[in-house]
Symmetry: C2
Subunit: 361 residues, 2 copies
């Protein structure tokens, strides 16, 4: 069985067996029930993924996958395509935002070349997993072949297995790829599905003309590849209008879910990969935490479509894994809450008064 | 001149002299302009407060002020009043949520007894600054005398001066006091001003009957002390319907602003203190960052009234400084962004393409 088939098969829905025990513990901590709001929800979800009432403090890692996009020929990005390789070099020097935040939250950040349009073989520190020198232009042909998309998916799955072997329990997702809001929006348009006007945004900052070019490019690609009906095959959509780093992210999420590693999903691009992963096996969603609401216009439509509530809302639209890294620190905090807070009985703190119409309540 | 008069006089509006330089630096970092959203705003505000284009990483401290409330006689809280002292003891054991989060974000947390209704003099580790054994019941008499409210304010100011002497540059606010959403709501009702229905919430979890008792108690107190007109004197309101820990928090904010220490304001109770501080000297607001939107019903009305945007929205309603502590870590991240990220020129990264109707944009 291929890595891909095995990962997809190994993903099982998270069990509800410990739910009562986990909530009993959270509600016994010295605070009014529910007073730590979303952090309690995050703690609960992490505990159930790990199948432990009081889980260990996470061991964290974040992979930033880099890839280029043939569709940049259509003028869909505010930055030139060579910025992808420049930013990978910047990451190797520790000067990108993801390096700063990774250090800040004490998360191991690893950069993976899965499809940069330049020879990076001499660049030390990068994980060399190149599938090809960028995707093809989706407007004129399929972004990847069937073999390429499968290879990129398995890059992500293999790294998830590496992480599991290293004892990682909390994974962050990140990416770098000039032009990649276009394939991400294309995937959401086809798979949610939703209207192009809602889902296509300005990315790193295109003007109105650039925005229209993005919409036109996606519409043309969707027509060319006959992806404009309901119930599209997620693997086919990924191959035709996706990206190499998006495929690797999809594989990473599948592999992590198969290994019961909780995944903190970064922003818009990572969300497109999450969508593909959840379409491939819906149980994947049990293992995903959404880190932040991106300022990229379509992200609100995405989170509403999935009915999820991102942990942070800081107006980020950078990618790299920056939102995921900061949210991972809040997952840590939620687990420490479970591990380090006193309980009402242990601390000798009185619980709430009985509810009644009379007296204090 | 008293500590209070001197602090109030020493607070000056933050200068805009460095604004251009600060933004020039933030916009030269290797990311699209604005792509780190609110974190860029936080970095900017911290830099201006510190009067440095690239400020040092913050030295952090958080004071949690504890006090009791005579108004608990009216049955306004879901927890019995003795929980205040039990929770102070819990904090001394390191088992409260604020201890856990303080350790997580590497912030020095100090607990101050400014008005607990129990003799804590034998409790080691507490900063003993008791003004009196809890406030009086605002429904039947003034919560504090003029001398008491001034003493509590100066407890906070003196601790701000201590922190400044210790090199602290980022202060978090916290409190513990069963019943203290009632005086906090009373102050907002009088000073914003706003409707009681909008501002009074369930605190640690009173039922509908308890909620009505809170509203009735505040309405009665406001009538008794003749605080039901516009343009109320903030000091008088604080004395009549405030709390000892709220007064100390007000003093802390004034003292920090006078010493150019940035203050991360916790939730609903701390916001009431911030409101009093800003009414005493409006320039105080330049030094305040709001950490999170509390789940306490009235807090949304408060942030809308002030036109501020809290950093986090996690549905917390605990106090202690828990929201402030977590947000302080994001202030740290924003400063590290300024200090550790590469610039476009230093990293050899291409900037955005020139905007134009043709070509990529």
């Amino acid at each position: 069985m291929s890595l891909f088939e095995k990962a997809k098969k190994d993903i099982v829905e998270v069990s509800s067996e410990l739910d009562e025990q986990i909530w009993a513990h959270i509600n016994d901590l010295t605070k009014p029930p529910g007073a730590l709001g979303e952090l309690e929800q995050v703690a609960f979800r992490f505990a159930r993924i790990r199948r432990e009432t009081i889980p260990a403090v996470p061991k964290k890692r974040l992979y930033t996958f880099a890839g280029d996009h043939g569709v940049t020929e259509e003028g869909v990005s505010a930055f030139p395509a060579e910025v992808t390789v420049q930013m990978v070099a910047n990451m190797m020097q520790g000067g990108a935002a993801i390096n700063v935040f990774g250090r800040h939250v004490d998360c191991d950040v690893q950069v993976v070349d899965v499809g940069v349009n330049a020879d990076l073989s001499a660049m030390e520190g990068v994980l060399h997993r190149k599938v090809r020198m960028g995707t093809r232009n989706m407007v004129t042909e399929a972004a990847m072949t069937e073999a390429e998309v499968m290879q990129a998916l398995e890059v992500g799955i293999a790294l998830a297995l590496d992480a599991a072997a290293d004892g990682v329990t909390l994974m962050g997702t990140g990416e770098m790829g000039i032009g990649n809001t276009t394939p991400a929006a294309a995937l959401m348009h086809v798979l949610l599905p939703c209207d192009l006007k809602q889902i296509v945004g300005r990315g790193t900052g295109v003007d109105d003309v650039g925005l229209q070019r993005k919409r036109d490019a996606i519409a043309a690609a969707v027509r060319l590849h006959s992806l404009d009906g309901n119930d599209q095959d997620p693997l086919l959509a990924l191959q035709k209008v996706g990206g190499l780093e998006i495929a690797a992210l999809t594989g990473l999420m599948l592999g992590c879910a198969a290994k019961r590693i909780a995944v903190v999903v970064d922003g818009f691009i990572s969300s497109a990969a999450a969508l593909v992963a959840c379409k491939l096996n819906p149980a994947t969603s049990d293992y995903l935490l959404f880190s932040h609401l991106s300022a990229e216009q379509g992200h609100r439509r995405f989170v509403e479509g999935l009915g999820v509530r991102p942990i942070l809302d800081l107006g980020f639209r950078l990618g790299e894994g920056t939102g995921a890294a900061l949210a991972m620190s809040l997952v840590d905090a939620s687990v420490k809450m479970m591990r380090e807070m006193a309980t009402f009985s242990s601390a000798g703190v009185s619980t709430a008064l009985e509810e009644s119409g009379e007296g204090a309540a």
